[in-house]
Amino acid sequence: MISRRTLLKSGAGAVAATLAAPAIAQAPKKISFLTWNIIDQEPMIRGWIARFAKDRPGVEVEWLDKKGPEIPVFYQTQLVAGTPPDIINTQGALGLEYAAQGALLDLTPRLKADAAVGSRFNADYLSNWAYEGNNYLLPFYITKTLLFYNKPMFQKAGLSGPPQSFDALIDAAQKMASGDASGFLTLNFDWLYWPLYATNGIDLLSKDLTKPTFNTPKAIEVTDRLAKATEAGAINKISWTGRWVEPNGAFAAGNVGMLHAHSPAYFFVKGQGKWVTPETLGVAHAPGGFATPNSHGLGISKASKNPDLAWDFLKFVTNEGAQELGVNRKLVTGNIAVDTKNLADLEKSDPLVYSILKTQLEHTDKMVGNWRLGNDSKIKEAFWPELQNVLLGRKDAKTALADAERKVARELKRG
């Protein structure tokens, strides 16, 4: 005979199973997609999600967007909690740091198995996110530095065109500086100023990334020249103090000769500078064709419960989605076919933007400042304040570079 307790237990079990079964059967496969400050593209992203989910019944994609400074905090707290978003959009070297921490899924086996995916992209941009030989992110949208110049100021100073060497750049800056006007400005975050060193044959680290190699007589000379040009007003001081808004805003004011910045700076400058037209704004490569990338990539969190679905979404966004993203935001995506088509259209519709974006796909073999480090932010923090000390007149170049070398070596040793 069945006891009352057994009967109750069986009944409760049956009810629970009945209630849970449909829930389990109907539980959607869900992934989350974290983007970096592109909330303005909400209709486009919602459209991607709808199209992606339409062909995959029972699939849900949750979209999250955070501003740049919020992303690292958000992602790392989610990592600690064990609930990171399945797909993450990162900028610059941040993705490599996450890869080094073991937060991201190694995409190399998937790229090998799905060779067509890898071949969609510009190989130089794709390789920017290779850490210890493995690839962790796919290009989402790509940028690197270039030289914008103020044509009327060039004409007034008797300059025929953009400088082709570091010496010519400093000379041109000096010719344009007078009163409130200065000759040159550069963005400084994420190593964006490094082309100024690269064009002088200076590298930060040895090829194996284990030793600092920047403390050379040439580097001291270059740093000293930059400091003196800053002191003289040829280089605008905001180059070494501002981040994004301040330097771009200063160039937009119309009294700075050249701006060394990545391509998105154009839209900010155009928005603020009434003087900006195809006739007044010149676009060129920095001397030597060197540029520092600052692109956005998409990776998959290692803790993702649905990595295959996340990979499918990644492929979808960087291919079907890329076309729309490139057109909407007037940018290049690193997807060769998409960029070729979009640039052809832009050449007719917006020649100035076309000339800017074209530079992003040229000399891609001369990208610098993109060392494949797992502790890039620590190296940056060891180097930059010392350089800043020289450029703003607090230390001499020799002392500051020696101090920076000691600090960088220590960080490299600490790993």
Partner: protein, 316 residues
Amino acid sequence: MMPAAGGAPGGSAERHNGWWQRKRTRELALVACFLLPSLVVFFLYRVLPLGWNLLLSVQYWSPLKPARWAGLDHYEEMLLYDDVFWQSLTNTLIFIGAAPFAIALALGIALLVNSDLKGAAVYRSIVFLSYPLMTVAVGIIWRWMYDERGGIINFALRESGLVAKPIPFLQSFEWALPSVIVAEVWQVLGFYMIIILTGLQSIPQHLYEAASIDGAPRWAQFWRITLPMLKPSLFLCAVVGILNSFTSFDLVYIMTNGGPGHATELLITYIYKSGFGQTKFDYAAALTVAQFILLLALTYLANRAAGGNAGSLERR
């Protein structure tokens, strides 16, 4: 049945004691019930993180790697090799050092608005208005005011012929920290003023009347009556000033983000950058311990300066 001799009084006392104990137990249980939520929150959000932070500071730890014992390595790094730690500590102390000036300024304003000055209530409101403003908004407003190109301060300085070239207030090593401190003082001034004003208004008038009758001049009344009677208010302002200096994260973050270089870096911003910017949570924990010790030491000193019993309950 008759009760045993002496049984009734003894039984009554026992019953009374039992009732009293039950009452005490009930009261204690009630007190515990009221206190429990606060204690749980205090434990979860104060004691536990503090303990975990201490543990973290002696480990090598990152979100996805197993923790390893580090001993005092982070402290060694911080004290012997990290220039930025010393700079941010110095800046924090300078920030704290600015508090007495702000309090002195607030005292002056409070004395003015406490007098028969015409429109004192309006001035009082104007000075206080800065305090309820969001710190982020204050940071943005001051950043624009200091702006090299379009800032009102540079405009005024240039128009009045005091300077030929605009001063890059927030971009210069020399000007950045004083500029941020001015913004900080501006925001907190209203709060100090209200606290001191409340203190001023609670000083019994007969003390001044007696002093006047005795022929004490105004300055003597200020030094012998006003200042001593304001001691609790000034102590409160000093403690708030110290705490503000340690927690001025938002203002510095918005105005300079610790730059240029680390010219305006405070311990709190450096802790944040180490943790979330460079993923050095273990090192950030060691920095936090240093900040905690400093805070304890300063609070102790402030308490000593206030006579050693600030914050204690008055004995009846």
